[in-house]
Amino acid sequence: MNKRRRTIFVVTLLAALHLFVIFPGFFAPYDYSAQERELPFAPPSPLHFVDAAGDFHSRPFVYSWKERPDSRGAYEEDRTQMFKVRLFAMGSPYVVVGPWTSRLHLFGVAAPGRIFLFGTDDFGRDEFSRMLYGGRISLFAGLLGAAVALFAGSALGVVSGYYGKWVDAVVMRLVELFLALPWLYLLFAVRAVLPLRIKTTDAFLLLVGVVGLVGWARPARLLRGIVLSAKERNFVLAARAMGASDLHILRRHVLPQTYGTMLTIAALLVPQFILAEVTLSFLGLGVGEPMPSWGNLLAELQKYSVLTSYWWMYLPAIALVVLFLAYQWTSAKLQEKVAVVNT
């Protein structure tokens, strides 16, 4: 029962994380590029319930940050005016899907107040909003990349395992070639030959494409192995003896045996590819400013002064760790399930 509850918790967490980043505009109080130039590196706004006079408020409120007069770059709360946190507040417009835009945000405070749940970055942009928008790029690069890799990998792996002979030889040599490629340098090279200016969506698709294309080799090899053993099973042999076509055998008897493994691989590949996007963006090869991704956000930490002074800049890393753990845990669970089914 306890285990079951944990599973529910992890799956809910994963679902919630994905929901947040599918609709970042709604959950984020601000636009990812909105600069608050008077407030670079402002710390997270604490939520208050008790005001300066000692009165308790049932609805939380925040104070604005103002620069401390005695020291540059340090902030203190301006206690003269409090700003209540409002649910379903109207704010800056954002695109929901396609041409559909909205101004409705999950929460917000009335201007001129500002709520920075995770503080601000070096341009005074809300780190929480940027994390949500950034998650959209990073998570989807991971998901789509994994889908591309898995699709290409399983198609080639299954074909290779099932038909064997020269098909197998060609595909497997190709796999070895791809595994041996120094893919980071390959990506540097790919980026270098592309035109200077590519749109964010193109950069994103490119990222997904390249990551997926490079990542298909391992799943292909794994699935080939499974198909090799699956096609020797008695019921497969029986089906073949009865004159079933290759397509039928693949669809009805061989592929179902690979589904469990595929799911497990997927759960492993997604975080791996999220990390690939993070790495690429960290190195400046991903989507460009001002569009955030988790890699971009973490790249700020390359600076010694940021690393030692502003703890909230680590928050994207924590989100990444949580997401990874959830995916890894799911993958482990799936593997258990697969093992049970296969025995």
Binding site: S33, Q35, R37, P40, R72, G73, D122, F123, G124, L196, R197, G284, G288, E289, P290, Q302, K303, Y304, S305, V306, T308, S309
Partner: protein
């Protein structure tokens, strides 16, 4: 009729050296003209450690190109006339005095007597003539050669007697004295032979044995460990004394360690492994400030240096068939009102604050407030105004569509790309702010960070770019090094390279002004000419001037006589006077 310039420092030096000689005359045969260095006195002894960003590529002054090599070479060599980094004016060095002929073309330099190289050999006019021969030798490709050639004619240097040389220029050259700064005088007794044998380019590489080297600087080479450090030791024959007659330098050892990145340099400075932090970024400076007092470290914000950051548009005359996209946009770029609108939209204060933690100075012209002698203080500093910018765009025929995007006269959306160097995070940040500022005007701007050499290639060679955000650093306060920038035929006339004739009336006027200032010897008249240059640049905005970053320097409080300046080398220009104090006496200047 000759005009004689003898500095008072020099006269004092003579007096002091007579006084010094009282004690040492028995051992010194020749009379000596030591210089008395201004500034406080210190204690002899001690070792100073400084981190360098990279290893010096060579120790040969003729061949050095990179800043690191120059810095190390600067500590080991001396020049005839030196630019004082603090006053930004020239002062006598190995030449104790000089005179100029009435036509302004001939300089006669009197050399100091009794000066010796670090290996004990005497320094005479032969060494000067030999050094200039090396700098001017076309086969050696010395980067200094360009400066010594006027109108295609190299400077002619003649020996008059053992302590007098004459330099003849092709035409009057106003900043001629400043030319001598940084031209290290070389020992002919050591280098004549390799030069005759055609091996000079291989001599004095970084692995040269210390015994084969000699210089006239405060320090000489002791050892070099590739990848780790270069150790210089005190030159016992140095030709300067302090106010009470002690022979300089005070330090017995000057050690350079190689620390390739700024953050690592900051950490080493923080932990007192190095004495001097030659140049810090604003963010690290703020970080160091937090516990500077407790750690006994002194931090100096020297204000704006000579570096200026700017945005500029491609106004080159391009082939419309080859680069149709760029040429289509050049109608905007060439429109002064467009450039003025862009300039008005720039949030210079915000940039200084966000990117440089407030340690940068907004500028509206090419001369920074750090250049005390030449700044035109009458230039207007228009406040940021999006309203005015929009009015300007409107009067230039631009309009806006329903969603606020800016459209040109042919109803095409205004969109362009700004290139920045990817190795410079601050530059990208500036561009991000500029992008946001221009978005307010409805311009759709993209930023493309690019490897620096690829960027320079686009700017200077292929001209495939729309706009670039970059910097220029003047090596000297004098306007003459900017000839290449402002002359319409100049090699770094960035916005429109290789103009056959000036493309606009103001560029024609710039040509005239720059030529005139170079040959005008009256300094007030020169200043007037150069003021007009600054005015024209500010009015016509070939560059949208943005900021000048402050020079930020740090030193341990134990370093005495530390007087950083905004001219390179910021911290070590008076290395001969630096000394290490006892920890108890440590204080910041």
């Amino acid at each position: 009729m000759r005009k004689t310039i003898v500095s008072t420092v020099c006269l004092k030096a003579l007096l002091v050296s007579v006084f010094v000689m009282g004690g040492t005359a028995a051992t010194q045969a020749a009379p000596q003209d030591y210089v008395t260095a201004k500034g406080g006195t210190g204690q002899a002894g001690g070792r100073l450690v400084v981190a360098l960003r990279s290893e010096p590529k060579t120790l040969n002054p003729i061949l050095s190109v990179d800043a690191t090599s120059r810095e190390v070479i600067g500590a080991m060599n001396a020049d005839l006339i030196h630019i004082n980094r603090e006053t930004q004016r020239t002062e006598p060095a190995l030449a104790k005095s000089w005179s100029v002929s009435s036509d302004g073309r001939r300089y006669t330099l009197q050399l100091r007597r009794g000066v010796k190289f670090s290996d004990g050999a005497p320094f005479t006019a032969d060494d000067v003539v030999f050094s200039f021969q090396l700098y001017l030798d076309e086969n050696l490709h010395s980067p200094q050669r360009d400066l010594l050639v006027l109108d295609g004619k190299p400077i002619i240097v003649r020996k008059i007697d053992a302590y007098t040389v004459e330099c003849e220029l092709a035409k009057p050259y106003a900043p001629a004295e400043r030319l001598f700064d940084g031209l290290a005088m070389m020992p002919s007794h050591l280098l004549e032979k390799p030069y005759r044998e055609g091996k000079l380019e291989q001599t004095w590489a970084t692995n040269a044995p210390a015994a084969e080297m000699a210089g006239l600087g405060a320090f000489r080479l002791r050892e070099y460990m590739p990848g780790q450090r270069m150790v210089l030791e005190r030159n016992p024959n140095y030709w300067k004394t302090d106010a009470v007659g002690n022979r300089l330098p005070y330090l017995t050892e000057l050690t350079f360690i190689f620390v390739p990145n700024e953050d690592a340099q900051v950490i080493k400075f923080q932990s007192s492994e190095t004495h001097v932090l030659e140049r810090a970024g604003a963010d690290n400076f703020a970080l160091l400030q937090k516990d500077a007092k407790a750690k006994g470290q002194c931090l100096y914000d020297l204000g704006p240096g000579l570096e200026f950051l700017f945005l500029f548009f491609n106004m080159n005359h391009l082939d419309a068939t080859k680069s149709p996209e760029i040429t289509a946009k050049q109608a905007w770029f060439r429109d002064l009102q467009f450039r003025q609108a862009v300039s008005l939209a720039m949030d210079r204060k915000g940039m200084a604050r966000l990117v440089y933690d407030g340690r940068a100075t907004p500028i509206w012209g090419n001369v920074t407030p750090g250049n005390k002698l030449w700044l035109n203080t009458n230039l207007p500093h228009p406040e940021r105004s999006l309203e005015q910018a929009k009015t300007l765009l409107q009067s230039a025929g631009f309009s806006w569509n329903a969603s606020g995007a800016l459209l040109d006269t042919q109803k095409r959306p205004v969109t362009f790309t700004i290139l920045v160097s990817s190795s410079n995070a601050q530059r990208t940040k500036l561009a991000t702010i500029a992008q946001d500022d221009l978005k307010q005007l409805g311009m759709d701007v993209h930023i493309v960070p690019m490897e620096f050499r690829a960027l320079v290639d686009r700017v200077l060679n292929t001209k495939e770019y729309e706009a670039v955000l970059m910097n220029l650093v003047n090596g000297d306060v004098d306007p003459t090094p900017e000839m290449n920038l402002w002359l319409s035929s100049g090699e770094t006339h960035l916005w429109d390279l290789g103009e056959a004739k000036p493309a606009t009336p103001w560029e024609a006027e710039l040509d005239h002004l720059m030529e005139a200032q170079m040959t005008t010897t009256d300094s007030a008249a020169r200043k007037k000419l150069y003021d007009r240059v600054q005015e024209l640049a500010a009015q016509n905005l070939p560059f949208i001037f943005l900021l000048s970053p402050n020079i930020l320097v740090g030193a341990q409080a134990t370093v005495g006589n530390f007087r950083p300046a905004i001219l390179e080398p910021y911290a070590l220009w008076n290395a001969d006077q630096l000394f290490i104090r006892a920890a108890g006496a440590a204080k910041c200047q």
